[in-house]
């Protein structure tokens, strides 16, 4: 991946910590000396809706919004959201997908159907075969705090971004309350390890 410019989407469901994660990416990129733009679309409520954060690291464009077909890195906290935003991937881009399904209400009440893993995979692979699935939710649960999922996903993504581990951790320390900092730092480390083991690059 080009070191100078990375167009990145972080997507998930309201409450999963997408915005905090993308804030930390943006702040870390700034500390690492890059220009950065970030914009979020989170609809009207606080919880449960589809959330997307656009991040432009480096100076490829002027608009904070990234166009469809131009994303280099998609980090999805949930499978359906990965499929939903996959049209933003450029050919051959990297997608890191948390292997976890959160069923929308319409699926729960039976009016719509959640796509199967094969369907999600087929949709993603129309754009890229560099799709990596990680067990973020399971790992976060093992750590005793499912809310650390976002830092686990950051850890996986960090392998693809030109930012030192030290910088990531400094930015996390600034944004995360001290009472839950350690478990989040651990989640980041585990995510990074999972990325290395899974050969994400």
């Amino acid at each position: 991946m080009s070191i100078r410019n990375v167009d990145m989407l972080v997507v998930g469901v309201g409450g999963q910590g997408v915005i905090l994660a993308s804030d930390i990416v943006a702040e870390a990129a700034l500390v690492a000396g890059y220009d950065v733009k970030k914009t979020d679309s989170l609809g009207m409520a606080q919880r449960g809706g589809s959330v997307v954060s656009h991040l432009r690291i480096g100076q490829r464009g002027w608009s904070p919004l990234i166009r469809q077909g131009e994303v280099d890195l998609l980090v999805a906290f949930e499978k359906l959201e990965a499929a939903r935003w996959s049209s933003y991937l450029r050919n051959g881009a990297v997608a890191i997908v948390n292997n976890h399904a959160l069923r929308p209400l319409s699926v729960n009440v039976g009016t719509e159907r959640y796509p199967s893993d094969e369907e999600v995979s087929d949709i993603m692979r129309q754009r890229s075969d560099r799709v990596y699935t990680v067990n973020g939710t399971a790992k976060a649960r093992q750590l005793g705090n499912t809310r650390t999922l976002n830092m686990f996903m950051l850890g996986c993504s960090s392998l693809l971004l030109p930012i030192e581990v030290q910088t990531w951790k400094e930015c996390m320390t600034q944004r995360i309350p001290s009472s839950i900092l350690q478990v989040n730092l651990t989640a980041f480390d585990q995510g990074r390890k999972e990325g290395l083991d899974g050969n994400i690059r």
Binding site: G14, V36, Q46, G61, S63, R84, S86
Partner: protein, 608 residues
């Protein structure tokens, strides 16, 4: 110093460095974070005002008294405050006064898509439009200087994509408060708008606009960047960023001040290019004003009047009119299979869930799985609604809201329906913050005009939808200080409502009894449904679980629309990470089979 700031944070920091002393607002997406940021500065007075009209009046009073003041509202908030806004333009100010309007193209979180640039023309005030966080920061200093130089309020117009995007800001100033004696000097011809005095003010306003237009000709807010001469683009705000991505080689007239427009500069720029194009989001505001100068310009042939703009839309439009011929069209997006949507929901543990379940079932809107065809009847209850998280109750499965217009409208609408003579009983539902914002006067109207409606105030102790801001009912100020709380019950009794009930939002039986009693009462009634916003629940304990031995999969619990209750192949489960547990228990109360209970008990009784 370089900082990563959202547009709203940058606007606030810019205003702070420009010496603002008094800042006011009512929360409204996408403007809310401006006042939240101002409130963090100890040497600024920042308040959540009861509504935007009051916010404007407080800021105007502060400006009259000689200090710099700031009002920040969302686009529809300027409608609410338009009366004092027009007055501020008429009287002029003393200390600088800036009004930030954050518009919401695309309606990410709004009930309409109005373009507030028209307000600058209507009120005859200068308008600035920043196009990133750096400009948001810098333009505030310009805005206050212009305000004081020309004795006028200044409108700064942002949009969601400016306010809620973060970009790098070179912070090159520190706070400078203008050295001025604080005090109000009596001047009836300026401040008392009797017709005789207002007649003197109007020509001054017209004269002021001419002077500001002359300023705009040479101001560094407006600048020309020459590129290739065959295409000249006029743009402002976020549309400028999109346009320079779509036309990287074109010449640009980048307008920082979009009202009044620099006539000479526009003619000069137009003369230097073959084709003049305006790229703007929503209405053809610049286009029409430029056309009125006698210039030929391409505008809405390229960009739609509806929705949020982006570079791809501009490129597509430009291709449609024969511009951008050399650039290959992007490949079409893949046809992604139909995926289930994920609209926002009421949270697990939301205090609105119980009351809406009751209204929905009593009004025969819910198709309760065991209710044998009742739901096919027409609803017996009309529910007028309002602006807040609870508007989401209009979605299935609750289907419990019939109207949503603007802040406070539901109560008046309910009265109007009753007076029109509809046979249904009419219930108006409104949140606590919205009630204080603009629900009080229609209750006065209903008392005075002998309405027979029921008003339900959903008191969750916060302004939830915009991110939990305090309001006059919470007794905490915008700057976190303890203050006097307005007592809703005493307020409505004081207005003259006799049938006032207060119920627990998490007690379905109590809610049902209260609603039934009010519907049976032929007089005006008010129910205050009280329960903390789920996001405020400090400690979650005792998550609920479904006893699969007792559950007959009737689906009643799914009818409250709680995101923690999930169904897979007919088997209902409760996500213990999402369930707020003891603080809610609505699902447990409505389960006809008594199959829901605390996880510890349900799993303890399970056969091994």
């Amino acid at each position: 110093m370089k900082r990563l700031l959202s547009g709203n944070e940058a606007l606030a920091l810019g205003a702070y460095h420009a010496g603002v002393k008094v800042a006011t607002a009512y929360p409204g997406t996408p403007s809310t974070e401006i006042l939240e940021s101002m409130a963090r500065f100890d040497d600024v007075y920042a308040e959540w005002s009861t509504n935007e009209k009051v916010a404007m009046e407080v800021a105007l009073g502060a400006a009259y008294a000689g200090v710099r003041s700031l009002v920040s509202v969302k686009h529809v908030g300027l409608n609410v405050s338009s009366d004092p806004f027009m007055a501020a333009s008429t009287t002029g100010i003393n200390g600088g006064m800036v009004v930030i309007s954050a518009d919401d193209p695309g309606m990410h979180s709004s009930q309409n898509e109005q373009d507030n640039r028209h307000y600058a023309r209507l009120a005859k005030v200068p308008m600035l439009e920043p196009s990133d966080s750096q400009e948001a920061y810098e333009f505030m200093a310009y805005a206050f200087d212009i305000s004081e130089q020309f004795d006028t309020p200044v409108l700064v117009r942002s949009t969601t994509r400016i306010s809620h995007s973060k970009s790098v800001v070179q912070v090159n100033r520190s706070r400078v408060v203008p050295v001025r004696q604080v005090g109000f000097e009596r001047n009836v011809k300026k401040y008392v708008m009797l017709p005789a005095h207002a007649r003197l003010r109007h020509p001054l306003m017209e004269d002021r606009l001419v002077k500001v237009a002359a300023y705009a000709e040479t101001s560094s807010l407006n600048r020309v960047g020459w590129g290739e001469r065959h295409l000249g683009v006029v743009a402002s705000g976020i549309a400028f960023q999109y346009a320079r991505e779509a036309f990287p080689k074109a010449s640009f007239l980048k307008l920082g001040m979009t009202y009044p427009l620099p006539r000479e500069l526009l003619h000069h720029f137009a003369a230097g290019v073959d084709t003049l194009v305006v790229i703007e989001e929503l209405d053809p505001f610049l286009e029409e004003n430029i056309k009125a100068m006698g210039l030929k310009v391409v505008g809405k042939e390229i960009t739609p009047r509806v929705g949020e703009l982006n570079p791809a839309i501009i490129e597509q439009g430009a291709r449609g009119v024969g511009l951008l011929t050399g650039v290959p069209a992007p490949r079409k997006a893949d046809i992604v299979a139909e995926l289930p949507r994920r609209p926002p929901l009421l949270c697990p543990g939301c205090p609105h869930t119980g009351i809406f379940f009751v209204l929905s079932s009593m009004g025969r809107r819910l198709k309760l799985p065991n209710s044998k065809g009742k739901s096919s009847r027409r609803s017996t209850l009309t529910i007028t609604g309002d602006i807040g998280c609870y508007t989401l109750a209009s979605y299935p499965p609750l289907n419990a809201m019939d109207t949503t217009a603007c802040m406070g409208a539901g109560i008046g609408q309910a009265l109007g329906m009753e007076k029109a003579g509809i046979t249904n009983k009419v219930v108006a539902v409104i949140g606590d913050s919205t009630f204080l914002h603009s629900g009080i006067t229609p209750v006065v109207d209903a008392v005075y005009n002998q309405g027979k409606i029921t008003v339900i105030i959903l008191d969750n102790g916060t302004t939830a939808m915009t991110g939990r801001q305090d309001h006059p009912g919470t007794g905490i100020s915008a700057q976190g200080k303890k203050t006097k709380a307005v007592d809703l019950e005493r307020l409505v009794r004081g207005i003259g409502v006799e049938d006032v009930k207060v119920v627990d939002a998490f007690n379905v039986k109590e809610i049902r009894v209260a609603v039934k009693s009010c519907l049976d009462n032929p007089e005006l009634s008010v129910i205050i449904v009280r329960g903390d916003c789920a996001v405020r629940v400090p400690r979650r304990s005792g998550p609920r679980a479904v006893d699969s031995g007792k559950c007959d999969q009737c689906g009643t619990c799914l009818m409250i629309g709680c995101p923690a209750i999930q169904s897979e192949n007919g088997q209902v489960q409760i996500d213990t990470a999402l369930c707020v547990g003891e603080a809610c228990t609505i699902c447990q109360q409505i389960c006809p089979r008594h199959a829901i209970g605390p996880q510890s008990e349900v799993e303890g009784t399970k056969c091994p």
